[in-house]
């Protein structure tokens, strides 16, 4: 089966070459994106089949000389192949329709299949060399895609920061894998699995893996590139980056920390729990204050990555205390939420892409009323918004419910840090979920409801049939995953068991397809019954109303307490919608300030309101760092203008110093 995956990667390389040659024509575009759909479908099928199959390995004579390239398809890899397959198929299908709006297809088509291939390669890599090669290829290919619209405002900046963070993340991961390989240099993952690093080395590997993989995933405080880079790319690439690439980073973290490293100490779990909780709340708060639709979605990715990492942190905490069933439940919840996030975030990015192509506008302050102009997109995006807001019976609720159940599992943990951290995380997660609901009421309401706020919104058009199909498919997926959570939990079980050693009871055996994580008396949730109940009672109430109540319906201008209508601009705007939340949470966290300037009567000046927001992470970490780097560069600048003699002296001194250090070391 592993050969199929490698063939899929080769096919992607072929598609990329074809795209470079024939990407300017409509047919070429359809072939490339259609090809990626087929490749993704194959990968999806392989993942589904391989998750319960025995581990397959393969060594090819490529890669480092004398070592070769090792590949491995185990349950964890298979689970993430499913994610890639899903996300890739959806993005390809969406792009078959949406890419006709692309101004510069020659900047997208060669890189898009490579991006897909590199993510597949990361997942099946079984030695450090192949893994890092694929990781860096993924960074570079996605960077090229981010730079597609380089002439747009802010893209170059985004690309620069992304490149810096990607290089940094790759470097840190290289150090982590180097430490795992040890002095003797066993580069294969098989050797790392059996070697047990010293406690200090294990701790260091964990920290490096968290920084390296966390920055790719978008964990606070190394998330800063994500809300800049993800929205800058073309929409289907944004969907792939937010929906799938962040999960590949999650894969890297799980692979290193759960598989290669052994069992990290409990304080590692504490750090992950802390960063996860902070990411969730900070991400969603940023999203709530954002008015660029795609950037809003990118910030919400930070939120969801935080939720997933809370699940992972819980699994680490339980694992450190040898409570395997608990670890299994927490990791199941994390993986389930990862899958759900792939589904609804891809869907929402498709929706944002459809809005962008249909109206040319991504500022929600200029949108509105699109439910009339783009009815199908509106339905699909509504499902996505409800799923991401964790509302039953959709999938987001099912996975967050599981995470809450995992938190309640064991209050008897012996470590005080965890005893205090887990309840705080529960509060942070609950806060993030409630804020996400507010955020997506705002996003959907401002974009699709109300009256159009600009001519662009008035003239918006529904996207092509491919794009609508992609969105509808993913909306259906969100619904299915929500009503059949038990099937997905069972599906992920082999991967969870391989990583934690624990296993949940089979869920599909329970009656009414109810999810019972521990015991029926403790907690249970049945998505399908919930959906049936809501459906039946909606239908019953509609039936009763139509039987007994008046049918008369009159259209009239709206009431609005009798206020005269001054046009669509009198509607609540996105900024005003977020104002209460900005005032409650933002005044502390973002040092939000508002100053209103109302001229005196008789003064003909326009009134103005000025808002000020500060990103604590950027101001606290990155801006000082940039200042230090730039000051150091200024100081070192004279070194560039020395004579050859001076340089030779430097080389000589450096050589002597190194030799001296070496002799002293021995």
């Amino acid at each position: 089966m592993i050969e199929q995956v490698l063939l899929a990667i080769l096919a992607c390389v072929g598609l990329s070459m074809f795209g470079a040659a024939a990407g300017r024509t409509a047919a070429g575009r359809l072939i490339v994106y259609g090809g990626t759909v087929v490749v993704s479908a194959v990968v999806l099928r392989t993942g589904v089949l391989a998750i319960a199959a025995p581990v397959a390995t393969l060594t090819l004579p490529i890669g480092l000389p004398g070592i070769g390239g090792a590949f491995r398809l185990d349950a964890l890899a298979a689970f993430f192949l499913v994610l890639i397959g899903l996300g890739g198929a959806g993005a390809g299908l969406f792009a078959m329709g949406d890419a006709r709006h692309e101004q510069a297809p020659q900047r997208v088509l060669p890189f898009y299949p490579v991006f897909l291939a590199s993510m597949i390669l990361v997942v099946i890599a079984d030695d450090a060399y192949v893994f890092l090669f694929a990781w860096e290829l993924m960074s570079l290919a996605s960077w090229a895609l981010v730079m597609t619209h380089h002439q747009h405002h802010g893209t170059i900046e985004a690309g620069y920061i992304y490149l810096l963070m990607a290089v940094f993340s790759g470097l840190v991961l290289m150090l982590a894998l180097g430490l795992l390989a040890g002095v003797d240099g066993g580069f294969s993952f098989a050797a790392m699995r059996v070697a047990h690093p010293a406690p200090w080395a294990a701790g260091l590997v964990f920290v490096l893996a968290l920084i390296g993989a966390g920055s790719k995933a978008g964990l606070v405080p190394v998330h800063v590139w994500l809300p800049l880079a993800h929205p800058a790319a073309p929409s289907h690439v944004s969907a792939l980056m937010s929906g799938v690439m962040t999960k590949i980073a999650l894969y890297g973290f799980i692979r290193i920390v759960f598989d290669l490293l052994g069992v990290p100490p409990w304080w590692a779990a504490l750090i992950v729990l802390l960063l996860g909780g902070v990411s969730a709340v900070l991400g969603v708060l940023h999203a709530l204050l954002e008015r660029d639709l795609k950037r809003l979605l990118a910030y919400s990715t930070v939120d969801n990555i935080g939720i997933i990492f809370v699940g992972v942190g819980l699994a680490m905490a339980f694992r450190a205390d040898a409570y395997l069933e608990g670890a299994a439940l927490a990791l199941t919840a994390a993986l389930f939420h990862a899958l759900n996030h792939t589904a609804f975030k891809s869907l929402l990015f498709f929706g944002a892409g459809a809005v962008l192509s249909g109206s040319g506008e991504r500022d929600i302050e200029h949108l509105g009323g699109l439910i009339h102009r783009m009815p199908r997109t509106a339905v699909a995006v509504l499902v996505g918004c409800m799923a991401i807001a964790a509302l039953p019976p959709l999938n987001g609720f099912a996975s967050e419910w599981l995470i809450f159940q995992a938190m309640l599992l064991r209050p008897e943990l012996p470590q005080w840090g965890l005893k205090l951290m887990i309840p705080v995380d529960a509060a942070l997660l609950a806060l993030a979920a409630a804020l996400a609901a507010a955020c997506f009421v705002r996003a959907f309401g401002m974009t699709f409801l109300g009256r159009p706020r600009s001519t662009a919104a008035e003239q918006a058009r529904e996207p092509s049939v491919f794009s609508v199909a992609a969105m509808m498919l993913f909306a259906a997926l969100c619904f299915l995953a929500g009503v059949m959570p038990g099937a997905l939990i069972d599906f992920a079980a082999p991967a969870v068991q391989a990583m934690t050693g624990g296993r949940l009871p089979p869920q599909l055996a329970a009656s009414w397809v109810t999810v019972v994580p521990v015991a029926a008396s403790r907690s249970s949730y049945s998505g399908i019954l919930m959906a049936v109940f809501i459906g039946v009672s909606t239908w019953l109430s509609a039936l009763a109303i139509h039987r007994f109540a008046s049918h008369a319906l009159r259209r009239a201008p709206f009431w609005d307490c009798g206020f005269p209508d001054a046009g669509p601009m009198i509607q609540y705007s996105a900024t005003s919608f977020a104002q209460p939340i900005r005032r409650i949470f933002g005044s502390v966290m973002f040092r939000a300030r508002e100053s209103v300037d109302i001229p005196q009567p008789g003064d003909m000046r326009a009134a103005s309101i000025v808002r000020e927001l500060h990103d604590p992470i950027w101001d606290g970490i990155y801006a000082p760092l940039a200042r230090v780097v730039s000051a150091a560069a200024d100081r070192l600048n004279p070194l560039q203008f020395l004579t050859v003699r001076r340089y030779l002296v430097f080389v000589f001194v450096a050589l002597v110093a190194l030799l001296l250090a070496l002799t002293l070391w021995q």
Partner: protein, 321 residues
């Protein structure tokens, strides 16, 4: 279970669903009546809410020109989600047939679904008032919902379950005693219930004063049968919250599924008595207190969130010592 037993259980479940639906307008009528008496007014009759419903159902729907399908579907979704939540809460009997469908977290989330639909419907017409209501509702929810989850955590850590039926039965038998966390949870839950049901001091269900209203601002554009559904859902939601409070903290008189018709009747009487008691308390509270400014509400709700978190922290810390 045998066939007859399943039919019997189904019947009890249906009785519960019909009962909450029938009791909801009466409960609101009771609170209004009690409030009026406290204010030395005679007040409308107890059955006035039923009359209101009939009147609204008989009237035309006046729909804004630019209302979309969402505006017309939302009332049914709001009503259905609230009704499902109401049928999952044990009122007179615990352990009903479908009680395993969702636990307390799911019930809170179902009410969240209803709120989501309501907030979206408020934005659909594109008026300033709809926006105000929607924005403030989500602001209140952003604090009330995490507080609710913290309350669920407190209770779940004490009885070891998030399932409401199990919680109620455990609370009867467990020697719970006077627990600090439980007291904190009760205070927090009362605050959440007040905020979520748009009662004084968070919102005033009787006002149309523009600058203070939240819930009323959202339903301003609704009329006729749509308004009837939303009103019924609002009354139902109040009953849900009161039932949750009595089910967790005052579960006396609750019977278990399969207890027999007379026991059920006793359960219904006990539930009705508890509801009436809380209704009168609510009326006294609302009469005694003044409405808050909107930006005081976060402090009020933040206190509830912190109480809940404190309760959970206490429970985590006191374990395993």
């Amino acid at each position: 279970m045998t066939g007859m037993a399943v039919i019997g259980a189904l019947l009890v479940q249906l009785v519960q669903m019909v009962l909450v639906l029938a009791a909801a307008p009466l409960f609101t009528g009771l609170v209004r009546k009690a409030k009026a008496r406290l204010q030395r007014r005679r007040g409308p009759s107890l059955v006035q809410p039923y009359r209101d419903l009939r009147r609204l159902m008989g009237k035309d729907v006046v729909l804004a020109d630019n209302a979309s399908w969402l505006f017309r579907v939302a009332p049914y979704v709001i009503f259905a989600a609230t009704w499902v939540a109401a049928s999952l809460v044990p009122t007179f009997a615990a352990g009903l047939l479908f009680s395993s469908t969702g636990d307390l977290i799911a019930i809170a989330a179902l009410l969240g679904t209803a709120r989501f639909a309501q907030a979206l419907a408020a934005l659909d017409i594109g008026t300033a008032f709809g926006g105000i209501g929607s924005s403030r509702e989500m602001m209140i929810a952003s604090l009330a919902e995490p507080a609710m989850i913290m309350i669920v955590f407190s209770v779940a850590l004490i009885v070891g379950s998030t399932q409401l039926s199990t919680i109620a039965e455990q609370m009867i038998v467990l020697p719970v005693g006077l627990r600090v966390s439980l007291a904190l949870a009760l205070v927090a839950l009362v605050i959440v219930a007040i905020a979520e049901n748009a009662r004084i001091p968070v919102d005033n269900p009787a006002t149309h004063l523009e600058l203070t209203m939240v819930h009323e601002a959202m339903v301003l554009e609704y009329s006729g049968r749509h308004l009837a559904m939303i009103e019924l859902a609002t009354w139902l939601k109040l009953v849900v919250y009161v039932s949750v409070i009595v089910c967790i903290f005052f579960p006396f008189g609750l019977v278990h599924d399969g207890a027999g018709p007379f026991a059920y009747a006793g359960g219904v009487v006990a539930w009705a008595a508890k509801l009436a008691g809380i209704g009168v308390l609510l009326a006294i509270f609302e009469t005694a207190i003044a409405k808050m400014r909107v930006f005081r509400v976060p402090n009020f709700l933040g206190a509830s969130l912190m109480l809940g978190l404190l309760g959970v922290l206490l429970l985590f810390v006191s374990r395993g010592m």
